[in-house]
Symmetry: C2
Subunit: 263 residues, 2 copies
């Protein structure tokens, strides 16, 4: 039986691959690869591996989903290890589920290897927590680039503390305007994390209203975070006397001395 | 300067650790560890590493957050590598942000290592996609176990395609009832993935109404997925004649033969 691994490559940095993903890539005979997967990750493949890019490259004709299914079909009767390598997590957008169904129907033995979705990992490496006690107790993830006629109903997301929009750069003005129309305050802090977890990582901060007015320049790929909570180091959250009560060791004095001077 | 790594250990399986997380654990002199982190992950630490459990063990007095801050303080002036090891992703609940702020204020050089959040990785390994074309184009993640007086307003989540509730097992009846009151249909398929990604993984499937009626037995820890889309293998999503058009190689015939017999 032909073996296939559907592998999430995470947000970009090679070190944010899982151990299982790195092993699958190293074992692959054929890799069908998305464009968002970085060269340093593909470099983990063995020299003899056949690498086929099936993602959309800017300015090129996109590879259709049926072409990907056809490639699955082509290798189904060969005794090879096929890896379908996708940016982020395979089940967070990106049609991982359809591809899993297709591979099973073609007779492959399929292993799914989850990855760190950019929706969570990219804000994290940019020090933007999606949840924080007293600030955000839930988050939602949505794609800004809807497939076909399906339109996002932004009103559904009006009340969610933190909202992460993937593939939302080109539509950011419309998205921000729709969210304000749906009741989100224009002064909400937002952030775009561009090329998150790579050497080119940049963060653009603004408020929702500026984005709605078309005043915020951003390049793709970027993760768009709405209600990006205050940057680190804002407030002192720790209560020194309380800590003294909790810990009864002489070494504490040093630590507390430093704590107190920080407040 | 003391070094600290806030590390997400992922959903449980050692092979779902990131490469960066495995390296940080192996380098650690001191590990402050949550209870959800598995023994096989902790086994990656060097023999001389000091392992301190700070998570809540069932039936034991929980370690307070201030005790954790106090331990950070205790090691702040030592030339040691401290790893704060947390289940899932450090910024998805679990107070990672507060701990990051505290470590910075204590003078540590802090590196955040994201992990696969159980909210995404656990449904994935149980073959439950959070998004799927034509079925679910967004998902939200919320905690069912709210801190202090803060109550979850379930109405906010009525319209989100897929909802993932972490730490929601003990409150599942109330949560399901609130979601139905907020307008979600009682016949929505739900799944609890228990001990996801570990050898003890089990999936309990039901509909939302049965959960609301208290008819669904589940043990903790489990990830509660509302609108858990149909299991794999349901429908044939691939269009054979279309594939023929896409791929013009003689090898296709074999593959298509198998495809046709599957339809």
């Amino acid at each position: 039986m032909a073996k296939a691994f559907i592998v999430g490559a995470g947000p970009g940095d090679r070190r944010l691959l899982t151990v299982a993903a790195a092993e699958a890539i190293a074992a692959a005979d054929v890799i069908l690869c998305d464009r968002l997967v970085s060269d340093e990750i593909i470099a983990l493949a063995k020299d003899s591996a056949e690498i086929i890019y099936v993602g959309k490259h800017p300015g090129e004709q996109p590879v259709t989903q049926n072409r990907i299914f056809a490639l699955f079909s082509q290798y189904a009767n060969e005794n090879k290890v096929l890896v379908r390598l996708k940016g982020g997590d395979p089940y967070v957008f990106g049609r991982g589920w359809e591809e899993h169904v297709c591979l099973k129907q073609l007779g492959y033995e399929v292993t799914l290897v989850p990855g760190i979705t950019s929706a969570v990992g990219v804000p994290a490496v940019a020090d933007i927590p999606l949840t924080a006690r007293g600030v955000a107790s839930a988050f939602a993830v949505v794609t800004g680039h809807c497939c076909g006629e399906e339109k996002v109903d932004w009103e559904k997301f009006a009340g969610i503390d933190t909202l992460v929009v993937l593939m939302g750069v080109s539509e950011r003005t419309t998205i921000a305007r729709s969210l304000i129309d749906a009741g989100r305050p224009g002064h909400e802090p937002v952030a775009f994390v561009i090329s998150g977890s790579t050497k080119e990582q940049r963060v653009v901060r603004a408020d929702l209203a500026s984005v709605a007015l078309g005043q915020v320049d951003v390049s793709s790929p970027a993760v768009f975070v709405i209600r990006a909570v205050t940057a680190l180091g804002g407030q002192l959250l720790i209560d020194a006397p309380q800590i003294l009560h909790e810990l009864e060791t002489p070494r504490l004095v040093d630590g507390l001395g430093r704590l107190r001077s920080a407040s």
